[in-house]
């Protein structure tokens, strides 16, 4: 082929690069591995992740739910995972119709009117929601409860730092574990967004309706974040509570934990704000013969057209993960999502009851919960949980000192439909025994 285009060597292909910029040595990366060697290598590394093989009660923004087998079968269809963004609708209807269904399902679950085609994850979706509130209200203050996931708060901070938005944090109520009464009071005429998470980082359900009223009373938008999407199956929707923007982490819906990503951000709002939404939107369209199809629409919001004036810089989103979530939501369906949510609720309640009865352990927060709760133990939680892992082979929870250094003995426990009663009982017993060492 070189010949066909009149070249003599591969080097000539790079004639337009100045000599002094060429790398004149081989890359100092390893020589090629065969399939066998490569798989061995990764399997060995995988074995160094002891946490992956254990019964686990870790939540805090990433959840172990059962993934129906068909999800991965559909994900690995060549036509889905090796396709690009559906820029050419005539040969991309598979992706487009899927996204349209995804948008609809997100609306149904959140109780909102419109949803986009996905964001990177829950945390960036939340940050973009704050930016959007600024665009909608033309105000420059955001108020958030400190019961929002600490990493989500960090991401908001990063995103708003140069956007002229001031972020105020209001401490949560340390008795209920919910946001404090002061949160509603903090909203003023400058406030663009009141940001709350429910169930919050501690697993407590917030009184979203009350907060919506407080926000609306001052002309602010209520932004609700949900990290545990399964809660949509049991809790009153943010939409029904009056939320203006709802963002969620969709990982609970058919997405493997995979050490934190790729996940998928859900983003929903009211119809009137549709043109302020960040990211892609798919809409219904018809061809000349009146056949229905779907297209990327309202593109004038986006960076490739509006450039620096776009509603966001996002381009590539989480298409394939949105597909996984769509397959999950449709397979589980109305009754499956309800049932899984119900089991989470019941199993977490059972676990909480039993843990609270172990000597030295208590539940510091009184707020209602879905499937996560904070436990206060008799010793340093990091130490306790590390013992539990080593001696009992259980990932018992997330020590909170990482986020709240003042609470060395507290940890967050999450229970889902995948945790059997036997696992819960082993956890309870294990907590008792390792705390007595």
């Amino acid at each position: 082929m070189l010949e066909a285009i009149g070249l003599k060597s591969a080097e000539e292909l790079f004639d337009s690069i100045p000599q002094e910029l060429l790398l004149k040595r081989p890359l100092n990366t390893p020589a090629a591995l065969s399939e066998i060697e490569l798989l061995n290598r990764f399997e060995q590394m995988g074995k160094r992740n002891a946490g992956a093989g254990r019964p686990s009660f870790l939540g805090g923004g990433a959840y172990s739910h059962y993934i129906p087998t068909i999800v991965d079968h559909i994900l690995t269809r060549s036509e889905f995972f090796t396709a690009y963004t559906p820029y050419q609708p005539e040969i991309s209807q598979g992706t487009l119709q899927t996204i349209f269904e995804f948008q609809t399902l997100v609306c149904q679950l959140t109780g909102m009117e419109v949803a986009n085609a996905s964001m990177y994850d829950g945390s960036t979706a939340l940050a973009e929601a704050v930016l959007m509130a600024e665009r909608v209200t033309r105000r420059s203050k955001a108020i958030a409860s400190s019961s929002v996931h600490p990493q989500y708060l960090e991401v908001i901070k990063t995103y708003v730092q140069h956007a002229g938005i001031h972020l105020d944090l209001v401490s949560f109520d340390s008795l209920t574990g919910q946001s404090a009464a002061a949160l509603a009071d903090a909203v003023d005429d400058e406030t663009a967004a009141l940001v709350v998470q429910s169930p919050n980082f501690f697993g407590c359900i917030e009184d979203v309706a009350k907060l919506a009223d407080a926000a609306h009373a001052k002309g602010a938008l209520l932004v609700v974040a949900v990290t545990e999407a399964m809660s949509f199956g049991a809790l009153k929707t943010p939409g029904a509570c009056g939320a203006d923007i709802v963002v969620a982490e969709g990982q609970s819906f058919g997405v493997p934990l995979s050490f934190g990503g790729p996940y998928v951000g859900l983003f929903a709002t009211r119809e009137k704000y549709a043109r302020q939404i960040p990211g892609r939107l798919v809409g219904e369209a018809f061809d000349r013969q009146g056949r229905r199809g779907f297209v990327l629409t309202l593109a004038t919001r986006e960076q490739h057209i509006r450039r620096e004036k776009a509603t966001s810089n996002i381009c590539t989103n989480e298409g394939l993960i949105a597909l996984a979530a769509t397959v999950y939501m449709e397979t589980m369906g109305r009754r499956g999502i309800q049932e899984a949510a119900h089991q989470c609720l019941q199993k977490a309640a059972y676990a909480a009851r039993r843990i609270a009865s172990v000597k030295g352990f208590s539940l510091p927060f009184s707020g209602p919960r879905f499937n996560e709760f904070v436990v206060r133990g008799p010793l340093d939680a990091g130490e306790l949980l590390s013992r539990l892992g080593k001696d009992k082979g259980i990932e018992g929870g997330i020590p909170l000192w990482r986020f709240f250094p003042d609470w060395p003995n507290d940890f967050l426990v999450c229970v889902t439909e995948t945790n059997t009663r036997a696992e819960i009982d082993a956890l309870v017993e294990g907590l008792g025994s390792v705390s007595n060492q």
């Binding site: 399939e35 036509e79 005539e90 990177y120 061809d287 810089n313 590539t316 990932e395």
Partner: protein, 508 residues
């Protein structure tokens, strides 16, 4: 239809409704174990006012077979890399190895919770560490963060790093440096990312040759307000900015930093390194150059790579190597980095993409990485050669990994880039990127990548030439394309005018 259509034939294609239109009350597709704990009365667990009361009305009720058929049928409407070349310029649609997919599904990674204690996640940290090492070697930039979730996210991260650096360097004076220079040929995410980071954008012109206009750059740099430059190299016209070193010098002398959009690294891996060119910070697209699948629009992964000087500003946490126990290195996350711009995403980035990219690097090996680059450039050159007789090539220099043509010759007959693109569909090809970059009227940006053999390149060239011929002899045929798809051109204007963004039950 033309005899020249060799890649496809017409065949039956399954129809499929929206899942909501298929839903039947009472059908289920899930199977969960029975609840095995004592059930508490719901009122005790959750006060009525917090409970969902719409019984999830509208959420579909379908069987497992329904779901399978639904998605299998819809999938057949998609073009995909596995069906053939996907010459979208700037998108680097290369083959997604099945092996990488398998690696990402190894239980020790797929089932690992991101908040697992470090000592129980050493393998996961090792992957991050090793991938960072390799990317540092490939780019010549030693400071790496894998946290950004896509290219645009990496841009935002890199630009915020530049800003944090300037603030640290210049203190209060930095507020005078809030201009980001961006060529008119840049991708839209560049200005949008600059804006997100609080910069105002000034546009640099391109020369007739398709390169950055140095004089204009000098002029723009003369006002003392320049924070930096965002440059794509090879640029979006597929041309290597051969003055890159000089460009970097000009910006550096003006007190600014150089950001390189690494979307086109597929032209450089193993051949030349941004770090050696004077670039300060770059993002890579693992979903382009390093072959992680695009998945119909994502996920991506947009690592940010920077100089030693900028390293303190990278997002937290970073992975650091601690010491060696029994032959195995150990790693930990480092959070205490006071100069960091902060966190750009929960957890550690799109981890699954890192596994795939590392697998790509290791299966190719250093030689293989270079060979892939050579093949990618060779293929683009071959296409450039093949199409020059029939299409206007606005820039005469030989292209790197992608090449831009225009519809100039075809417009005489009223045939435009969009028509040519749509007609390619009839020929069985996914169209190239069209109307980008914006500075080229009627641009057709073609990037074959290394994942295509000569047979299919020849087929593509033949198709394009045949279309050029049709544009002369039967322009209406081209203007009405595609004629052989299950759906014709959709009325996008109408769709945007009165957007229908979700399904609603008929009765509504």
């Amino acid at each position: 239809m033309t005899d020249g259509i060799t890649k496809v034939t017409s065949h039956i294609s399954p129809n499929e409704q929206l899942i909501f239109e298929r839903s039947q009350q009472g059908r289920i597709g899930y199977r969960l174990p029975a609840l095995d704990v004592d059930e508490s009365p719901i009122d005790e667990l959750l006060p009525q006012e917090f409970r969902r009361d719409d019984d999830l009305e509208g959420v579909p009720e379908v069987s497992e077979v329904d779901v399978i058929r639904h998605f299998v049928r819809m999938s057949t409407w998609n073009y995909s890399i596995d069906l053939g070349m996907y010459p979208l310029g700037s998108c680097t649609m290369k083959y997604n190895s099945r092996l990488n997919e398998r690696v990402a599904r190894i239980a020790g990674f797929a089932n690992l919770h991101p908040l697992t204690e470090e000592h129980d996640a050493q393998g996961a940290l090792q992957v991050i560490y090793e991938l960072e090492q390799h990317l540092a070697e490939i780019t010549g930039l030693p400071g790496i963060s894998l946290q950004p979730a896509a290219g645009a996210h990496g841009e935002m991260t890199g630009i915020m790093i530049i800003r944090a650096f300037l603030d640290a360097r210049d203190g209060a004076n930095a507020s005078g440096r809030r201009t980001m220079l961006i060529p008119d040929s840049a991708h839209g995410t560049n200005p949008a990312s600059a804006h997100l980071s609080g910069f105002s954008v000034k546009t640099i012109r391109s020369t007739a040759e398709g390169l950055t206009d140095l004089d204009h750059l000098r002029e723009l740099c003369s006002h003392g307000d320049v924070a930096g430059l965002m440059l794509t190299n090879p640029n979006t016209l597929g041309l290597f900015e051969r003055n890159i070193k000089q460009i970097c010098d000009i910006v550096h002398e003006a007190g600014g930093l150089v950001y390189m959009d690494g979307a086109n690294m597929n032209a450089l891996v193993g051949i030349a390194r941004p770090g050696d060119m004077g670039v300060d910070v770059i993002h890579l697209n693992l979903h382009k150059t390093f072959s992680t699948p695009h998945g119909g629009g994502g996920p991506g992964s947009g690592p940010c790579c920077c100089t030693k000087e900028l390293e303190p500003f990278l997002p937290i946490p970073r992975v650091v190597k601690t010491d060696w126990t029994v032959g195995e290195p150990t790693f930990r996350f480092e959070y205490n980095r006071p100069q960091s711009i902060g966190r750009v995403k929960a957890f550690f980035g799109n981890y699954g993409m890192m596994l795939r990219a590392l697998s790509y690097i290791l299966t190719h090996g250093n030689d293989g990485l270079r060979e892939a680059t050579e093949a990618a450039v060779l293929n683009a050159r071959y296409i450039a050669n093949g199409l020059t007789p029939d299409y206007d090539k606005p820039f005469s220099s030989p292209p790197m990994h992608e090449v831009v043509f225009t519809d100039k010759r075809q417009t005489r007959k009223g045939v435009h880039t969009l028509d040519i693109a749509k007609r390619l569909i009839d020929y069985g090809f996914h169209p190239m990127t069209i109307y980008f970059p914006l500075i080229v009227q009627g641009a057709m940006l073609i990037e074959p990548t290394e994942s295509v053999g000569r047979q299919e390149l020849d087929q593509f060239i033949a198709a394009m030439r045949s279309i050029a011929n049709e544009a002369l002899e039967d322009p209406e045929l081209v203007r009405s394309a595609p004629n052989s798809t299950r759906i014709g051109r959709l009325d996008e204007a109408a769709a945007a005018r009165k957007p229908v963004l979700r399904w609603k039950p008929k009765s509504d």
